[in-house]
Structure formats: C-alpha cells, structure tokens
C-alpha cells in the first residue's frame, strides 16, 4: 500500500493530542501502514489557525484531506474540536473507523495515480 502524507494539527490548550496520535497509530497499524510517519504541527496563534483553516484540536489530515467531516457549527480558531462518533457519542477525537477509511482511501488513490 502506498503511504499517504499524514499530518496531525494540534493546539496546546486541548488535552486530546496524545490520545489522537495513539488512535491514529492504531488505525495506521490496522490498515497496514504502521511504517507511516505522522507529522505533528502545532497551531498556536489565531493567524496560523486562520491560514490553515484549523477547525480545532486535534485535526488529522491525510494527503491534505480531513479524516472527519467538519461539523456545521465548527469555527476556525484555537479550540478543542468536537467530533461525533458513529454511535452518536460526542468525542474529542475522530472515530477510528473514519481514520481507517480516510487512510485506505488515500492509499488507494495514490496507487491509482502511481504516486
């Protein structure tokens, strides 16, 4: 499987970064991408948040695409991001199934593109 570019955007005001990283690494292992490298990028100013379209911490991008759909009430800025798991629970991290699907989708797209 081709390895996509994976970036974890985080803000220090939110305590869920390490959990998100752990769940992301688990998802990478689940889809056979355990050798993939995760870039962690700290967002710590309003200007950075604005320029990156940062919807809150943590945000995980796979080949530049958010692993989760932005919630309707999501605002760009320094905040903790609200996710909704597939069972309806509110969570500070994305649903692992969403991560796995995003990783597989990106890896397939890279294979099809020959990247």
């Amino acid at each position: 499987m081709r390895t996509p570019d994976i970036e974890l955007l985080w803000w220090a005001g939110c305590p869920s970064t390490d959990r998100a990283q752990a769940e992301l690494e688990q998802a990478l292992g689940d889809v056979g991408l355990s050798n993939a490298r995760v870039r962690r990028t700290e967002i710590d100013t309003d200007d950075e948040a604005s320029s990156r379209g940062f919807l809150g911490s943590p945000t995980i991008l796979v080949d530049g695409v958010d692993v989760a759909s932005p919630s309707p009430e999501g605002d760009v800025g320094l905040s903790c991001r609200v996710y909704r798991r597939r069972d309806g629970r509110i969570s500070p991290t994305p649903d692992p199934d969403d991560m796995r699907e995003a990783l597989q989708r990106a890896a397939r797209a890279r294979e099809e593109d020959g990247r």
Binding site: E73, G77, S79, C80, V82, R89, I90, S91, P92
Partner: protein
C-alpha cells in the same frame, strides 16, 4: 487563586440566562460546574451533569453551571448563545454567565468541565472531574454523585480531589 478542600469557597452572585441572579448559599450541598458550549469534554459529560441535577434536586442539592469563557474570541460562549442553548435543551439547572471571569479565577477553575462540591457552610468538599471517563456514560458521574452523597450524609468524599479533564478555560487578554 484556587480553593483548597475544607476551606470556605468564594461567594458570588451571577446572572442566569433569564437574568435572575444565583449564589452558592443556603443549600445542604451546592455543585458548581464550570462549563461551556463548545468543548467536547464538557459536551460529553453534559447529560450526566444534567442527570445529577434532576436526581438530587429534591434532596436539597443545587447545581449551578457557570460559563466563564471569553466570548469575544469564542462567540459560541456568548450570553446570547447560552440563552439559546438553555431554551433549546430545557436545562434543569441555571446556566450562569461569569463575564468578568472573576468567579473562575477565585475558584481556580482550569477546565471545562471543572466540578466543585460545596457543603452547607460553603466549604469545598470535592473538586475535579465528574467521573473517570468522559467517553463512558455508564460511569454516570460517579465521583460527583459519591461526593454529594458523602456531603449529604455528613461524611467526607473519597476521593475528595481528582484531576479536572477538559478544555482550558478561555481567559481574556
């Protein structure tokens, strides 16, 4: 500043979403919860805290939710947004606006949520998280309920203090 277990907690008077003011006095137990409208931890624990207010209301326990976040930078925490939320969700407890952030500073609140249980003399008897798992509704705010039960029974909560988990309070400036 922060309040230590066993020490009298600061008094305050804050407006709710109807404009009525509330203070933490005169009840066998008072729960003060610093919370907000957009933090995933506060939202995940929200239903459990509402259930505590419903379950203990007829036992003389008052639950006061306080939003101290800077609404300038976080408009979703504005007084108007608080009013809309309470009207939509039919809260069983008052949602208070701490516009100056003085109450959050006086209590040493750090996160949303951050829970403080006071006894009839307004002494702090428990401080921390509602329970040990924001992602596990079956925990049912066990630490908070245990602390209230202990205060109502004249005993000491155990644990009396846990680490508050949540989003940082959004301070001004």
């Amino acid at each position: 500043m922060s309040v230590s277990i066993g020490v009298e907690a600061p008094d305050f008077e804050l407006p709710d979403t109807d404009g009525s003011t509330h203070s933490p006095d005169g009840d066998p137990a008072t729960v003060v919860v610093f919370t907000c409208n957009h933090c995933p931890y506060a939202l995940a624990w929200h239903d459990r805290i509402m259930a505590v207010a419903r379950d203990y209301g007829d036992r003389g326990v008052r639950v006061l939710a306080i939003n101290s976040n800077d609404a300038q930078r976080y408009p979703r925490d504005s007084y108007e947004a608080m009013k809309q939320r309470v009207a939509t969700e039919r809260w069983p407890l008052p949602y208070l606006r701490d516009e100056s952030q003085e109450v959050a500073h006086a209590y040493g609140a750090q996160t949303t949520p951050d829970v403080f249980v006071l006894d009839a003399q307004r002494r702090l008897r428990y401080r921390g998280a509602p329970d040990s798992g924001y992602d596990d509704p079956s925990q049912n705010a066990a630490w908070l309920r245990g602390a209230i039960d202990a205060v109502l029974a004249g005993g000491d909560p155990s644990p009396a203090e846990t680490k508050p988990i949540g989003c940082s309070i959004k301070w001004k400036g």
